[in-house]
Subunit: 228 residues, 2 copies
């Protein structure tokens, strides 16, 4: 499901030719910045990347937490200026492409354009999920939905021992900025979820204790998760 990986074998070399190579970014570093042109594209191989927008007022809206397989930095030309920030929440491994030859590369390799279209369509659906979650649910439901979805996505990518919990390199402030809440209220809502025996969540890890009850609260339909 990544951009460069699962091509038909004999085509793979073409994309391989264009890539600049793999690179590692340390936790806290930035892949690219809102409003600034960026000459590279990134295929996320390992680690977590947070995508967010900054408002003039300084507030931050988290758009997505990108997991391995995500293709980052590509967008219709706003004169090359990107519309969001991308920072690494963990050490991150990416496959780097130069941006310039990409349009012609897409024309030469239709399956690349096709794959990009699908990735983008999936991103749109994901954004619509996110939108619905923020727009129409209470804080408690938002958090439930968010944790379940994140858990499912991580479970799908990393090997997770069933019921063992996952690594979750997010602060409560990150979660708050994703859900349109304050870190304080996220904390208070988390407490009620914990007290009800639904989740456990500490520094850097998450465990879902009662997925079915959480799914009811968050109106989460596991079968409808097409966003892996």
């Amino acid at each position: 499901m990544t951009v460069c990986q699962p091509f038909v074998p004999e085509r793979l070399d073409v994309v391989e030719t264009f890539k600049k190579g793999d690179r590692v970014f340390p936790a806290g570093s930035r892949l690219y910045q809102q409003g600034v042109p960026c000459t590279e594209l990134y295929n996320l191989l390992d680690g977590w990347v947070m995508l967010y927008r900054l408002l003039p007022s300084g507030r931050r809206q988290v758009l997505d937490f990108a997991l391995p397989g995500a293709f980052l930095g590509w967008q219709p030309n706003a004169m090359g200026r990107l519309l969001h920030d991308a920072v690494c929440l963990t050490d991150v491994a990416v496959c780097v492409f130069p941006r310039a030859p990409f349009p012609s590369l897409m024309r030469e390799r239709p399956e690349l354009a096709e794959r990009l279209a699908w990735l983008q369509a999936r991103d749109t659906i994901s954004a619509h999920d996110h939108l619905t979650n923020i727009g129409k649910r209470s804080a408690r439901a938002r958090l439930s939905h968010f944790l379940l979805e994140l858990y499912a996505r991580v479970e799908h990518r990393y090997s997770v021992v069933n019921g063992e919990g996952i690594e979750l390199p997010l602060t409560q402030e990150h979660i708050a900025d994703a859900l349109g809440l304050t870190n304080i209220y996220v904390n208070k809502t988390l407490r009620t979820l914990r007290e009800d025996g639904l989740v456990r969540l500490g520094r850097g890890w998450l465990q879902i204790l009662n997925p079915s009850e959480l799914a009811v609260i968050g109106e989460f339909d596991a079968k409808a998760s097409h966003l892996y």
Copy 2:
């Protein structure tokens, strides 16, 4: 910027061959329904289409108001089941395509896949805008931002006499469901905007009286509107 229109001339016939023809839907009718497979794709030629999701609880989140040029009904296969509803707010003219041959058509015509990728990327950006608006702004700012963006989009498609206002076939409930508010609070907030001489808005039309002040309130950057 539509799917079938601006191809290089000699290619156009290929897409034309596949299309099933133009069709008109009356206001209030539905193009497709959430959870139901749909065998067609639609290129919106004229009119307004509202895209929304319904939650189990019955609440509705409006995802987008589609304007001419939008390409509707295409998404990565969730077994063909669509994830949102599309209903016509006005009489609507669409160019209809059968869904089945589309994957192979994309492979034959790379420029189609490329165009779809770009349209989808634009949709993602638009969804991120929407997300930021709902997640991080007060009701007053949300409304200001929403009205300005909508005005800009309509202005870009239909010929608008400067300062004359536009047709806006939305009820306050539609707006509320798009912005994560209640129709009642939308009404009250609109009143304050009117009283401050910023907008005029009645049944089916909208006039922006003070765009610069509205832009300040809504943190709206006209230059950043890449969503035409």
